[in-house]
């Protein structure tokens, strides 16, 4: 019951934040000096054509009228139409989001599954120099390497030189039949429809972007696991107590993990939110055609509604992820449950 109450309170807090986000987005996008009417009309257009287009888009109205209209539409889930594709922004985003989410979810899952054991090894390796040093060195290295550069290097090594992965051109080879669209995520759809040829191609295309993502963004997971487990394992009295009581090494470790994992959950959540927009560069390298690339295109075309739609969706997604992180905390940490009435 308490968790419902807690969720309700947290959701209440989201409302002013969403309003703030939509307001800031609107202001920033309208502040941009580039005029979409010019972009749409093309370089040879007359002033008259431009005026007509401005009128059609509502750009000649006072800014607060535009904001009122924008908020009204937003509440109804209408982000407007993209100037470029002519389709509703929301359906454009709906088409692009699954590709990014598939890559991101798989990547962070892998990073979590590999990173936590590595972090624990690093923490326990305190006495053994090599494990500790290796985990530290990896953290520094991964933090310094630009993801887009690593992606290119991997393409050079595994596509150009060794030729064991497909060309970095999207999510699926052109030689296979695309799976029926169910979720929009190509690998998942191939699996669901039993289209094995497509699944194989999709997985092949996933290898390098996934490797790039995991190598660069697993570093914070390793680092947080290491320092958190270290604090609990070597620095807390209850572990000392277990040790004195003669619990096995493994049993102690399990208890340390349970206490040391909450900060790691937070960092995974933060990474998820950050990468939803921050995956742009990796998407660009592998021509992934996802959410991030949509934003880059929208920005270069001064596509107001599309940029607004992207930013609002990404920011709301972020708030949603933080909410889930808080709820997970609530479930994992008994102290919060006791205190949150």
């Amino acid at each position: 019951m308490r968790i419902l109450w807690y969720t309700a309170r947290r959701l209440l807090y989201v409302i002013p934040q969403v309003v703030g986000i939509s307001l800031v987005t609107f202001v920033i996008v309208r502040l941009l000096p580039s005029n979409p009417a010019y972009a749409l009309a093309g370089p040879a257009a007359t002033q008259e054509t431009i005026n007509t287009i401005e009128k059609r888009l509502g750009l000649n109205e006072p800014i607060w009228t535009q904001y009122g209209k924008y908020i009204r539409d937003l509440v109804q889930g209408n982000f407007g139409n993209s100037f470029v594709s002519g389709r509703p922004v929301l359906s454009d985003i709906g088409d692009r989001l699954p590709a990014t989410l598939e890559l991101l979810a798989l990547g962070l899952l892998l990073a979590f599954l590999i990173g936590v054991p590595l972090g624990v090894l690093g923490a326990l390796g305190r006495g053994r120099r090599i494990a500790g040093r290796a985990s530290l060195g990896y953290g520094l290295l991964a933090g310094a390497i630009p993801d887009f550069w690593l992606g290119l290097i991997l393409v050079y090594a595994f596509y150009t030189k060794l030729n064991i992965v497909p060309a970095p051109l999207g999510q699926l080879g052109t030689d296979v039949r695309a799976p029926r669209n169910i979720t929009g995520a190509v690998a998942l759809d191939s699996l669901l429809t039993g289209n094995w040829a497509a699944l194989q191609s999709a997985l092949g295309h996933l290898v390098l972007p996934l490797a790039t993502l995991v190598f660069v963004y697993m570093a914070p997971i390793v680092k947080y696991t290491r320092s958190s487990i270290e604090d609990v394992y070597y620095g807390s009295e209850f572990i000392e107590q277990y040790r004195a009581n003669g619990l096995s090494h493994r049993a102690i470790l399990v208890r340390a993990l349970r206490n040391g994992l909450p900060p790691v959950i937070t960092i995974v959540g933060v990474l998820f939110g950050f990468l939803l927009g921050g995956l742009v560069l990796i998407e660009q390298v592998f021509a992934w055609g996802g959410f991030g690339q949509y934003a880059v295109q929208a920005i270069t075309n001064s596509d107001f509604s599309a940029v607004e739609g992207f930013v609002v969706v990404a920011a709301m997604f972020n708030l949603f992820v933080y909410l889930i992180v808080d709820l997970l905390y609530f479930i994992v940490d008994p102290r919060l449950r006791a205190g949150a009435t």
Partner: protein, 314 residues
């Protein structure tokens, strides 16, 4: 293992004592002098020294890099396009025949300049606001609360996309990249400083100053601010590293610095096509330069954090 930050904490139970007793630096440290203490710390911390060396070299290159190359960094030579590394062109040439070695060491002029200026501005904005956000009067508390909620909103935006939108809208130029980075980074300094200032505010020497008759503004400026700037200093080197990466990323998608200006991200992007066809050098070398600089600032950040950690100062 001298460097390992969160490792070897004092045994359980003692940490709390050391922290709370560490208050004002002990007399021994004062007698030895801050500089002396810093030297001792530096001597025992090799990664920090490496970081400092990288930072020094990067600043030197920011000042003189464009003059030091073997060639003019922007000169094109269409008789020597995409030649591999050789005695004449140490790092090879790009598709316009520009010398990659000269361009790689000229790039800090723009990359580091942007990162340092934007970090400085973000600090200049965020640190005083962070102290201000700890106000104890009823009005002060309200202002502080609102500031934090506003920072929540700024920080909820996708960092890279916001930078991209700002730069694309106002036009790709160094000044606009600096503005975008400043907006993105100052909330971090505000939070860091506020956190530290909240701790400092209740300490005895601040109380003493207040009892001694100093006004609120004076106490904040003379006592709270200088004593809560530590975390922001650590944050600054992380922020520089982050800014270099974002600048390069923006230029990589064509929204930051444009060729022919030597800039790492734009150079990597320039070389991406050749990379697929087998010429690795136009993209690899600028990436290595970028990575080394980012690593250097990260190492300095780690070292500073360790140095300023009160439980470390025995």
């Amino acid at each position: 293992m001298t460097h390992d930050l969160p490792t070897d904490p004092p045994p359980a139970g003692e940490t709390g004592h050391v922290d709370s007793a560490a208050g004002p630096p002990l007399t021994v440290a004062v007698q030895r002098g801050e500089l002396n203490q810093f030297t001792v710390f530096t001597r025992s911390n090799r990664p920090f020294v490496i970081g400092l060396a990288i930072v020094a070299v990067s600043i030197f290159l920011m000042a003189f890099g464009p003059l030091l190359g073997t060639h003019n960094p922007t000169a094109e030579d269409f008789n020597a396009t995409l030649t591999g590394p050789s005695g004449h062109h140490w790092f090879g040439t790009d598709q316009n025949g520009r010398d990659i070695f000269s361009r790689t060491i000229a790039a800090p002029r723009i990359d580091l300049y942007i990162a340092l200026v934007s970090t400085f501005l973000a600090m200049a904005l965020g640190v005083p606001l962070g102290v201000l956000a700890t106000g104890t009067s009823r009005l002060g508390e309200l202002v502080g609360e609102w500031m934090l909620r506003a920072m929540d909103v700024i920080q909820a935006f996708p960092v890279f996309i916001l930078a991209l939108a700002l730069v694309a809208g106002f036009g790709p130029s160094a000044v606009n990249v600096i503005i975008a980075l400043t907006v993105l980074q100052f909330p971090v300094f505000l939070r860091l400083t506020r956190g530290a200032a909240l701790g400092v505010r209740g300490r005895t020497f601040v109380e003493a100053a207040r009892i001694g008759g100093a006004g609120t503004g004076g106490v904040m400026l003379r006592h709270v601010l200088p004593n809560s700037i530590g975390p922001a200093l650590v944050g600054a080197s992380v922020s520089v590293a982050q800014a270099v990466l974002i600048t390069a990323g923006l230029s990589f998608v064509g929204a930051g610095i444009r060729p022919p200006t030597p800039e790492w991200g734009a150079m990597i992007s320039d070389g991406a096509q050749s990379l697929i066809t087998g010429q690795w050098w136009p993209s690899v070398f600028p990436g290595v330069g970028l990575g080394i600089v980012v690593l250097g600032y990260a190492l300095v950040g780690d070292g500073l954090r360790l140095y300023l950690d009160p439980s470390r100062r025995q």
